[in-house]
């Protein structure tokens, strides 16, 4: 009887020690959910959600401070992915937050005065140039966030939509014409 008790106490102490040790050894730094949310976000760093970048928005979502429908570049599919990840209901976009087509910024090099304000505004370093030198957009790096538009003092930056071409063309969902069955 007493030996059984000792065995049980021994086992519980051992397991407790193992659990305690692993809690320290395998401690997860930070919130892993934030990274998962950040992975779903489109990384345009545009701030349309009201946060200064995708990571801060992901943090806010993880804390439950904000809805999942604040990211227009992610589109409705992005909302759906967030809803699936977080196990919440799909929320449609609110007023004025509809997604736009993909675009890249374009600098009119005739008008550019080389003030570097757009370079400072670009969140992904996609503008090349220097003070009093002409600036230009590195189109392959541009996320289309539009953050360079407001600082430009001469309004020489425009957004150019990325049209469909032979390399980015996609097959459409086949349209099935339903057969009308006579009642």
């Amino acid at each position: 009887m007493i030996s059984a008790l000792w065995v049980m106490i021994g086992i519980s102490l051992l397991l407790g020690a193992v659990l305690g040790y692993s809690a320290i050894k395998f401690k997860v730094e930070g919130n892993p959910l934030v990274e998962k949310i950040d992975a779903v976000l489109p990384q345009t760093q545009c701030g349309q959600c009201g946060y200064p970048g995708c990571m801060p928005y992901a943090e806010a979502i993880a804390k439950g401070e904000v809805g999942i429908n604040k990211c227009p570049p992610g589109g409705e599919e992005g909302i759906q992915k967030l809803a699936d990840l977080l196990g919440v209901e799909f929320q449609p976009f609110g007023e004025g937050a509809a997604p736009k087509g993909k675009a890249v910024a374009f600098i009119d090099e005739q008008t550019c005065i080389g003030c570097t304000l757009c370079i400072q505004a670009c969140p992904v370093d996609a503008i090349a140039g220097a003070a009093k030198q002409m600036h230009t957009i590195i189109a392959s790096e541009c996320t289309g966030c539009e953050l360079c538009l407001p600082p430009c003092p001469v309004d020489c930056i425009t957004m150019e939509a990325i049209g469909e071409n032979i390399t980015n063309w996609k097959w459409r969902h086949p349209v099935i014409i339903p057969i009308k069955v006579a009642a």
Binding site: Q43, T44, C54, I166, K170, W171, P174
Partner: protein, 556 residues
């Protein structure tokens, strides 16, 4: 007798091959213009290296390969480049791509060219020549051949030469084998040497008895002891690379594995022929055999210059007036061509003139009844009905789990579907959606990385600035402390002396600098000056009293 194997599934559509094999390969007259697309191969589009208005010779390179996965493009005849612009090309999208338009001068004048000594040229040099000659797979995949001749340290046992040509209507490989068997075998032998393969197996469907006979005769005549011509049962799609490898060697190339890893490489017969022309004669890929059949009076094969406009080609075969569309390729996997201006490319093996009578419009699709006939015929052993459900409901993760990317889009499933569901379209839709997501993911990862680096850089700059400032402050404090500790000893005597001398000079100068024209003043003038001086003094006082805190009054 070598044992042959069978692949799973397959269908037997009516072949319609006899119509176009009655006559030998016909030469085409020079067309009025050539529209040569710069992207006729898998990979990066070639970069144009000619100018509008430039005269080019036959065989002159007009597009340079860009990057590793790319191929060269050449002028198919001599003439003048009249445009380099976006034109409609043979593509499912019906979108334009960059093309070079060439107006022939009728002279058909060759650029200087010649073959190489195959025995004394290194393998890497031969591969380079293939790339320069723009040789790509002519079976339809148009993959650059120079890359396929590099086995990447895998031991290649078998080289498969694909003459199966399983798709209905197409006979270009058939007639090529009948007429140019010797050159095909010579090309195949070069490929065998490049790959260090032990044997060459040439697979031809048994409905092409003349081609089989011609190839066997050529093997015997030229004493290719390592080659064997094998007749394989007629079954669509036995001409798929993986399917033919399975039939001839019994090897099943697993998902996501290259056939070279299993010791097999596969080339089309027409590719072997153009390899021979390119290396032994120095002729780039300028023309190919194209079957023109379907709704025409004289279905036959033509040796067509790359870039020949579709309309000028189909006229030669007698296209009938009720033709409503042109199909490039076969009826199972072909592409609809929107207009007659589209140029023939390296991928064009067949043009089927179609009429509503020949190919009646597809009846409306009915719901899937889960009969699984598609699964029975699928040569890739997939579950097409499941893939269809997942693709239809945009469940792309599931389609990938069900090995969507093993689908070769042969169309056997759609062919047997009793509900007429356009199954292949669903798979292509799902594939391109998945590809787009991958592109977006890549772009997002790049943007994240760049954004994080930018944040890091800004933070680092801030820290460096703060450190510099702190350093300066520390230095200033140290100096002040030093000055306080030894007030007399430190000021340099010499420096002090210099300062004193400078002060003395300044004072002397100030004393010398008198106002001019003040020696002979009248009393009135003196009085006026005094009054002005008094006013000035008063203003200064007032300004000081008013407490112009920010701006001290300017003294003159």
């Amino acid at each position: 007798m070598r044992q042959l194997f069978a692949f799973h599934g397959g269908v037997h559509p009516p072949t319609h091959k006899d119509e176009s094999t009655r006559t030998p390969i016909a030469r085409t007259p020079l067309p009025s213009k050539l529209v040569i697309p710069l992207s006729q191969h898998v990979g990066n589009r070639a970069v144009p290296i000619v100018q509008v208005g430039e005269r080019v010779l036959k065989g002159q390179k007009i597009g340079r390969p860009e990057g590793k996965l790319s191929s060269a493009v050449h002028a198919s005849t001599s003439g003048t480049v009249t445009a380099i612009d976006m034109q409609l090309v043979a593509h499912h999208s019906g979108l334009p791509d960059l093309c070079v338009t060439l107006v022939p001068d009728g002279k058909d004048e060759w650029i200087e060219h010649g073959g190489v000594d195959l025995q004394h040229t290194s393998h890497s040099e031969l591969r380079h020549l293939l790339r320069k000659a723009g040789v790509v797979g002519l079976g339809g995949a148009v993959f650059p051949s120079d890359l396929k001749t590099d086995a990447h340290h895998h031991k290649i046992k078998t080289l498969v030469i694909n003459g199966a040509e399983c798709e209905p209507y197409i006979t270009c490989d058939d007639v090529l084998m009948r007429e140019r068997a010797a050159d095909i075998l010579r090309g195949a032998d070069i490929l065998r040497v490049l790959l260090h393969a032990e044997e060459v197996l040439i697979g031809i469907e048994d409905n092409k008895s003349e081609a089989i006979a011609a190839m066997q005769l050529a093997v015997e005549q030229h004493k290719h002891d390592k080659m064997e011509v094998l007749s394989v049962p007629t079954m669509y799609p036995s001409g798929g690379a993986k399917q033919l490898i399975r039939i001839l060697t019994g090897i099943e190339v697993a998902a996501g594995v290259r056939s070279t890893e299993m010791g097999v490489q596969c080339f089309n017969v027409a590719t072997a022929y153009s390899v021979w022309r390119a290396l032994a004669h120095g002729e780039p890929l300028l023309s190919r055999i194209v079957t023109v059949t379907g709704n025409v009076t004289d279905a036959q094969n033509f040796d067509v210059l790359i870039g020949t406009p579709l309309a000028e080609l189909v006229v030669l075969a007698g296209s009938k007036p009720d033709t409503n569309r042109h199909i490039m390729g076969g009826p199972m996997m072909g592409v609809d061509l929107p207009t007659g201006t589209i140029g023939i490319t390296k991928a064009t093996n067949c043009i089927i003139e179609s009429s509503p009578k020949l190919f009646p419009p597809q009846p409306p699709a009915l719901p899937c009844i889960r009969c699984t006939r598609c699964a029975e015929v699928c040569p890739a052993e997939l579950q097409p009905q499941d893939l269809y459900w997942f693709a239809k409901s945009n469940n792309f993760g599931k389609t990938e789990e069900f090995h969507l990317f093993d689908c070769i889009e042969c169309g056997a499933c759609a062919y047997v579907c009793p509900s007429n569901i356009p199954l292949v379209q669903y798979y292509r839709y799902a594939k391109s959606e998945i590809h787009e997501r991958e592109r977006d993911k890549k772009a997002a990862d790049l943007a994240r990385e760049r954004h994080e680096y930018r944040q890091l850089r800004i933070e680092r700059d801030k820290q460096e600035k703060a450190e510099k400032l702190a350093q300066k402050e520390r230095e200033a404090a140290a100096k002040a402390a030093q000055a306080a500790a030894a007030p007399v000893a430190t000021p340099d005597d010499a420096q002090q002396k210099l300062i004193e001398e400078a002060l003395a000079r300044a004072n002397a100068q100030a004393a010398v600098a008198h106002p001019q024209n003040t020696e002979t003043l009248t009393s009135e003038q003196s009085a006026e000056i005094a009054a002005i001086e008094a006013r000035r003094a008063k203003i200064r006082e007032m300004a000081a009293d008013a407490g112009a805190d920010d701006e001290p009054p300017k003294s003159h």
